[in-house]
Amino acid sequence: LSNICQIAYPYSYDMSPAIDLRLLRYFIAVAEEGHLTRAAERIGTQQPPLSQQIRVLERELGVTLFNRLPRGMELTDSGAALLVDALGIVPDAPRFGRPATLPTIAAAVVVGVVLVLAPRHGVVDGIVLAGLGVAVIPFAWGGVRPGSGGRRTVDPRALRRTAIAWAVTGVVTCAWELTSWLLGRVLSAEQARQHPAISDLLDPAIDQLWFRAVFVAAWLALGLALITRGRRA
């Protein structure tokens, strides 16, 4: 449990390295199911002892891992932080964020073909995008389902560095985009063409069938990654 003890998450400050892996398994079950009764059924025990074990874990860590709500158990920030590491520590922990299933991939391929071949800005594209928007709502909203990269332990410091690197890249991109967009509105039309925004650069390219195919494929692949990550498959 050295990773847990070294990281800066709130739950880890006073954490004992001798924590029982069994407690972590119970914790994972409750976090995944979001409900004590279902978690108890899953691991073959009763609700009262499971609830007691979760309280034992909370006492050992000195933090509250779950908010006890009428509809079930909701992870706190500390609980979510612990779950990320617990999934990497417990050897047979179930993997969240499994790869997309075959039917999902097949559906994405069909949607992709339609989006590539249908006239751009047309009714078909509009209907497909509206349908996709509705379809992802359950994935976006569905319960508190924190996830982890699976069985591999993630170094929280590396995770933080990665987050910072992506954030810096994103901020620079957005700042450059905003600058170009603003210049396009304050300069004359001729001068504004010298400062294209991302849309100005990509829009003509997406009119080309081959580039639209690349764009749609990348966009749908990202969507699949987003709905299968960070949540239970």
Binding site: H121, D125, G126, A140, V144, R161, T162, W219, G223
Partner: protein, 71 residues
């Protein structure tokens, strides 16, 4: 200036690809982008915002006419 503007965007894209590749190899003290997704998307508001942004990108480029072809 057009070229400079486009090159900065391209550079951002290259950095993003490098971050993704480097993370997969656990090099330079970074971890995988997937692990980052897992952590960030564990939070419902973040998940909603990110999926909404993803959907908007599709809408923006495939459905909406956001660029005046004559402008």
């Amino acid at each position: 200036m057009y070229l400079v503007t486009a090159l900065v965007f391209a550079a951002c894209g290259v950095v993003a690809v490098l971050l993704w590749v480097t993370g997969r190899r656990d090099a330079l003290g970074l971890t995988s982008t997937g692990a980052l997704f897992d952590r960030v998307l564990a939070d419902r508001p973040a998940r909603v915002v990110i999926l909404l942004f993803w959907w908007w990108i599709g809408w923006h480029f495939l459905v909406a006419r956001t660029v005046d072809p004559h402008g």
